[in-house]
């Protein structure tokens, strides 16, 4: 039986999630003299997408770039006219502060220069032509974890947040459990910053499983179960774009090629299908080589990216026929033909970003330098990824006062560079925010209610293993949502999910603290899966990673419209909202730019 001794912690700033966004946020807020507590479900040294390392810090642009120039650079990429949808103001702020963020990372001890002091820069063909830092960050997380602790942050590893505490529309803290001791913890905080990444565990078993040692999804590791999204939603915040499930080729053999550097070198892999017919390569080498400028330094002016092609009426061309793509599967890629120098670079990129995966491949006898690796183009969803997340304003605050979200947790934000920058920005702002924040007052009835939720699974005998219920949720999402959605399937999926929730969620058995944590994760996955289905039902068109068989075309009336969801009176509300326009008059904060 788990311990139920209470522990109450008082803090100025609570950061939930100790990854590549959470650590910079905690570090910066503590540097500014605030009392900071960081809660991490696993262990900060190797947690999150950057746990195994990172080989690229994606792009920067010239200091002082105006919104108009930024808009010109990213047009055709930023809006719901066929590709990703996000708030361009958020993107602009994050891009504008990247040079500053790089300096802050160096202060934390994260290396990114050659011996002569110049940045390690590589050309990039796919990130809009902006130069990318080639970084050797195999140990970025241990470095960050050490810096955070040295700055005086109270780090609680192996601690999972149960839910946020709120009082009269304002966040006042959170409750948590220690997944090793079962201790129930109460945290009183003036502000809370969510840094818990996306959600990668509601689809089939190819996506990360907690009980399988998979390293192919290092950018959505097995710990990513949408915890921050679910707790934000239950606290009254809004989530956006949860109909957009990321799809793509599934790499079967070698799952570990780091495409961060490789694709940026403008060298393509060779591809063949199962019939031996050569064609364009898919992952990891991606699209055709571009005329990306070889600047050699951050801040150099990039070439403008061409707008995507359009058909008449401004509607982008239909995506490839998934059935034809599937009929051509499996496809095989090889890098055997690339120059030896580039093979060595790829070895280095492996070690920088996923050394364990490299060793596993090696032990299986798979040699990327000479073998073909198999891709499956079957168009099934993999995770709720880039467009999805907590809906925030350009100050990164949610609609719950005092509750902020950063990094991959935020809708439209993804990748290491944006995440770390986001963390530094919000951490830096905390003193100003705290100054105007009243002392938090806990609602002890709410604390008690969350304690019941946290401890419920420990009271169950002969119940359901949380891993089993997770498998059922994944099955429901894969079968009734999948990559080819339709109204009938979605409605049936919602019904089945509801049935699973009513019957099995109360029966989850957590007879040790680890499975107590797993039970809480499944509770979060259940909420996210339901919202995913409802959002998929609401968007009656096909756009980006959302495909409706019954509405196969894009609806121009829904251009720049994002789906937003929140909890009202215990029921989910799903509605469309227009994306903000880029504020052309904004000036980047001089503290960062």
């Amino acid at each position: 039986m788990a311990k139920t001794t209470e522990k109450i912690i008082e803090t100025d700033v609570l950061v939930v999630g100790g990854g590549i966004a959470g650590c910079p946020a905690a570090y910066k807020a503590a540097e500014k003299g605030l009392k900071v507590t960081l809660v991490e479900k696993s262990k900060t040294e190797r947690s999150g997408s950057a746990g195994q390392g990172i080989d690229h810090h994606s792009g920067t642009f010239p200091r002082g770039m105006t919104p108009a120039a930024f808009n010109e650079q990213i047009k055709g990429v930023t809006r719901y006219t066929g590709e990703r949808g996000f708030d361009p103001n958020i993107r602009y702020i994050l891009h504008a502060a990247r040079d500053w963020s790089i300096a802050e990372l160096e202060k934390m001890g994260v290396p990114m220069r050659w011996d002569d002091g110049k940045f390690m820069v590589i050309d990039v063909a796919f990130h809009g032509g902006w130069p990318v830092l080639h970084v050797h960050w195999q140990n970025v997380k241990p470095i960050m974890a050490k810096a955070v602790k040295k700055m005086g942050v109270n780090v609680l590893d192996r601690t999972m947040v149960v839910d946020l505490l709120t009082n009269k529309g304002r966040v006042v803290g959170a409750t948590a459990i220690n997944s090793r001791t079962g201790e129930f913890i109460i945290i009183k905080a003036k502000t809370v910053i969510l840094a818990t990444a996306k959600c990668a565990r509601i689809f089939d078993s190819e996506t990360p499983l907690p009980w399988k040692y998979k390293f192919n999804f290092h950018w959505c590791p097995a710990s990513v179960s949408g915890d921050g999204w679910a707790m934000a939603y239950r606290a009254g915040a809004e989530l956006a774009s949860l109909e957009q499930s990321g799809k793509g080729s599934r790499i079967r053999d070698d799952k570990a090629l780091s495409w961060g550097n490789f694709r940026g070198w403008g060298v393509e892999g060779k591809s063949t299908n199962w019939k031996g017919e050569e064609g364009r390569s898919g992952t990891p080498s991606g699209g055709p080589p571009s005329g990306a400028q070889r600047s050699g330094a951050p801040g150099a002016a990039p070439e403008a990216r061409p707008a995507p092609p359009k058909t008449e009426g401004g509607v982008p061309p239909a995506p490839p026929d998934p059935n034809r793509e599937a009929a051509n599967s499996p496809k095989y890629n090889t890098l055997a033909h690339i120059p030896d120098d580039f093979k060595k670079r790829t070895e280095v990129a492996y070690v920088d970003e996923r050394m364990v995966s490299m060793v596993i491949s090696q032990e299986r006898g798979f040699d990327f330098r000479s073998h073909y690796f198999e891709l499956q183009e079957d168009n099934r969803p993999m995770q709720l990824h880039q467009p999805c997340g907590v809906f925030v304003g350009s100050d990164f605050q949610t609609r719950v006062k005092g509750l902020y979200a950063i990094g991959d947790t935020v809708y439209g934000v993804h990748n290491v560079a944006l995440a770390a920058t986001n963390g530094f920005i919000v951490g830096d702002r905390m003193p100003e925010i705290i100054k105007n924040t009243p002392e938090p007052v806990l609602d002890m009835a709410q604390v008690e209610s969350q304690r019941q939720v946290a401890m419920a699974s420990t009271q169950v005998k002969d119940g359901t293993n949380p891993v089993e219920l997770e498998a059922s949720i994944r099955y429901a999402c894969t079968r009734y949502v999948g990559g080819q959605k339709a109204e009938g399937k979605l409605r049936e999926g919602i019904r089945r999910l509801g049935s699973l929730k009513r019957e099995f969620l109360p029966k989850l058995q957590g007879d040790n603290p680890h499975f107590q944590m797993r039970s809480l994760e499944v509770r979060n996955l259940m909420d996210i899966a339901e919202l995913h289905m409802l959002a998929s039902l609401e968007r009656k068109e096909s756009r980006f990673d959302h495909t409706r068989l019954d509405y196969p075309k894009q609806d121009p009336a829904l251009d720049n419209m994002v789906i937003v969801q929140r909890l009202e009176n215990g029921k989910p509300v799903t509605e469309f909202r227009k994306l903000p326009e880029l504020d052309m008059n904004q000036k980047p904060d001089p503290a960062w730019c």
Binding site: H136, N139, G266, A336, E347, V351, M355, V359, S370, Y372
Partner: protein
């Protein structure tokens, strides 16, 4: 370019040169592979022409031209 062999497995075991170097450093200094990798990468990187922009451009342009020639269309 090799596919799986007739037994359904890949070729006989091998070791990437960088991994060999990492293990050598780790054994010599009695440190973890993660710690050793930091030093190994810098050492191994000396043999890679990262900063030789002329070489880089030549190799990438050569590869680009091969791909374009194979596809027969302008970029």
């Amino acid at each position: 370019m090799a596919f799986m062999d007739e037994n359904g497995h890949y070729e006989s075991k091998f070791e990437y040169p960088l991994w060999t170097l990492i293990k050598k450093i780790a054994d010599k200094k009695d440190i973890s592979y993660s710690e050793a990798s930091q030093e190994a990468i810098l050492e191994y990187g000396k043999g890679i022409r990262y900063r030789d922009e002329a070489y880089y451009k030549m190799e990438v342009d050569k590869r680009n031209n091969e791909i374009l020639a194979a596809r027969g269309r302008p970029h």
